[in-house]
């Protein structure tokens, strides 16, 4: 199957809305990359949004890569048991 990668930037102040928008791009024929490089800290609603997004991506069988995730945010995702849902790129 042909795949191409779409990359979306996540704005630190707009994590929830940006993820909501990214949901629309979830498509099994396409790999999706979310650029988290601007997100240095994530709050509970943001984390819940990532969790929800992860579920949707799974439903739509879309591979999602998170790019440029800071180590602090990575540890937060890890503790929230969310890292297995995504691949990570630097």
């Amino acid at each position: 199957m042909e795949t191409n990668t779409l990359c979306l930037k996540i704005d630190a102040n707009n994590v929830i809305a940006d993820l909501k928008q990214a949901e629309e791009s979830l498509d099994a024929r396409q790999e999706l990359a979310l650029d988290f490089s601007g997100v240095t800290r994530i709050d509970s609603p943001g984390l819940q949004a990532v969790q929800r997004f992860g579920h949707r991506a799974e439903d739509k069988k879309t591979k999602v890569a998170l790019r440029g995730v800071s180590v602090n945010v990575y540890k937060t995702l890890k503790l929230a048991r969310l890292t297995s849902r995504f691949s990570f790129e630097n």
């Binding site: 800290r41 984390l47 937060t76 995702l77 503790l79």
Partner: protein
Amino acid sequence: MIATERKERAQLPLPAEGPSAERIAYLESLVSQARIAAAVFTQFTQEDVDRIVKAMVLAGLEQAQHLARLAVEETRLGVMEDKVIKNMVACEFVYNHIKDKRTVGVIRDIPERNVLEMAEPIGVLFSLTPITNPTSTVLFKCIVAIKTRNAVIFSPHPKAWRCCAEAVRIMRETAVKHGAPEGVFTCVESPTLPDNAYLMHHKDVGLIDATGGPGVVTAAYSSGKPALGVGPGNTPVYLEKTGDLNTAIVDIIISKTFDNGTICASEQTVVIDDETYDAALQKFAELGAHLCNEKETKLLERTVIDPQTGFMQPMAVGQKATDIARFVGLSVKPNTKLLIAEIHGVGREHPLSVEKLFPVLAVYRAKSVSEALKTCIDVNHAGGLGHTAVIFSRNEQVIREFGNLINAGRIIVNSPGAIGALGAVYNDLVPTFSFGCGTGGGNSTTDNVNIQHYLNIKRVARRTQNHMWFRVPNQIFFNMNAVENLSQFPSETTIIVTNPALEQFGHVDIVRRHMCPKTHVHVCIIPDAEPEVKVIEQGVEALNFYQADQIIALGGGSMIDAAKIMKLKYESPEADLEELAAPFLDLRKRVIEYPKGRAQRARLVAIPTTSGTGSEVTPFAVLTDKDRGRKVTLADYSLTPDVAIVDPQFVMSMPKGLTADTGIDCLTHALEAGVSNYASAYTDANAMQAIRLVFKYLPTAFAHPHDEEARCMMHNAACIAAMAFSNASVGVNHALAHAFGARFHVSHGKANALMLPHVMAYNAAVPTKFMPSPYTKGYIAHKKYATVADLLGLGGQTLQEKVEKLIAATEQLLDQLGFPRSIAELGIPRDEFERAIPEMVKAAFDDPSWRSNPRMPLMQELVELFWKAYEGRGTARLAAVQPQAV
């Protein structure tokens, strides 16, 4: 803790049925919120949490009255005013204790240990809170949890649920308003036993923090999760005759009536010395206590203690003294604060000797201190192990004895038990609402629970550069006629320890001639052999007989070693040589201690007559154990001679064989010290210089024994090499040589020579096993050999070539000195050698010499090295495999 909890929560570990599917979904949602909150929390800084904590504390203080009122209304126990105080203590005193403490990132830097302590939050806590201190416990736990970046799911006692839920709400809303993650605190709605069991076993719960009765605590510890389970008490109080009666009675009343006695650390039985008993009771009565007569006591105990279980009746918990009196049918004054009943023993037959969380106090008249202490022990063991105990006394000895005898996490002295145990009011204990009761109470800690129990503490241990040393005698005289310096050392009686040959050579006369005038000199001739226990004993006898104040060791390594041990035994007759030679791994950490601070009875002057061992400057002495066919090495800087005189005139008489043997011993010392894991720039300087001198002068000293320059340089070389190995130690070559030499009676130098090329190749190769060493960085033995090769100008391009050239040069030197090329050449039959191997390997492995070797010798490798030495050299160079690979 109280009986209601005992009954309601006792069966916690095994609830009949789990929660319904719907309920599970609800509980999962709580865990999920907490997990997310805890994850988010890890990004918070110290400033973030401190800001939130302060806001929560202010909110708690603001709401202290509101929450106290709710608690009294709901639980119908305790005293409103006291509960306000408890809420305030939970906020203000706890805040005061934690506000400046670091709980995020680096929490402690311990530079002197090169250790950093860093905080890692626990994550999700599941916390059970009691009916007796409901809102104060919630406030306390919330504040401590935020300070440590943890999320908490609360499960309050069912009969205190509403007030606790309100406390959780206030704390959560304040925290979130000031930036804490949503979901940081939740409270299980109308918690049930199955709910609690479900959460206790949940994989996302990191720690159970259970404050309550034994049921809760046992359930927490049985869950398989890390738990802080803190349970009931039974506080004994010893009112000792020297104690200040006025203070004691007031303090006990304050504590026992505080919140109507609901704090589990409050006083339960006061044991009073006979001498002050009546006065004490009178004081109690004066200050508002009702003293029950025998009949009243019977009535009281029947009512407030459940005759079936022997525990207190729930209905009495936290009630006023007057209400209890009314209920029991006692007529008391309207302002009675406390009911006091005399007991005559402890246990089921004395119902009031148990925990009573209401203002009923048992008193016991003790005829003696020992009776008093025994009664306190009995009370302590009647349900109060690990919790709290109180003593009023001015007698420090009794206080300490009480502390020693009573098993309680908090032993409160001359102050109220309950408020004293809470900490930070009457003493410097850590403020808390959870009293750890240690293993006595089935808990994991005796601490007052606080922030340190809500954190994982990580220790970042940096590699420490252990300090090293360079120790040598403070006076070394060298070059021809250095012996003249002897005259500057005053002595009344000197013993010269030497052997017959040296006396015949006239060496003893030379020494005598240079002694300080008026010295009485006695010569102790000892047999021409390596030091043996029997020989040492004779020498010590002579020292004692003449009361010598100076020992001159004149001879080779054997003689100097003998003199070192004689001095040790002379100054410390109790020294057990066998014990002092016990195995050790690191000199500084070894189990055996050499006699310390012994009176220096005699100066030890070492005058070597061979150029090899360097014993004149070393802290070692080798002792031969003939019976067991082995050598033992004593090592301690106290063995180092006080003065060394390195005068070549005494070595001119050395025969060729001895020159070669001792010269190669010297080379081995320098080479082993050079690659030792303890080598330092200080020892390297000496080792390198010694190696250079040996290669330059040993062939001449051997071929032309009368060449003064060569003799002098070799004599210096031996001493300089010894300064290196005194501080960097030797290595596996010496371990092998000691084992082999002792077993086959081969001289030390020759034994070293037979092993040396093989050991160099062995150390230069990639180790099978690296030796742990804080002193070295990476593996450098082959590089050190290459440096030696460069120093000697041996040529070679690569490290390997240089190592090979050094081994070749060493073999060439050995050939020049006429050493046998193999052990076989000594005429030792192969089968005899083979039979000896297990014993030799054992001895070599026990030898401390190799502990500093750069390569960790495996037993099998020692076997192989022995065989290589047996087969002979020429092969050694080829064995040095690719050292660059390391």
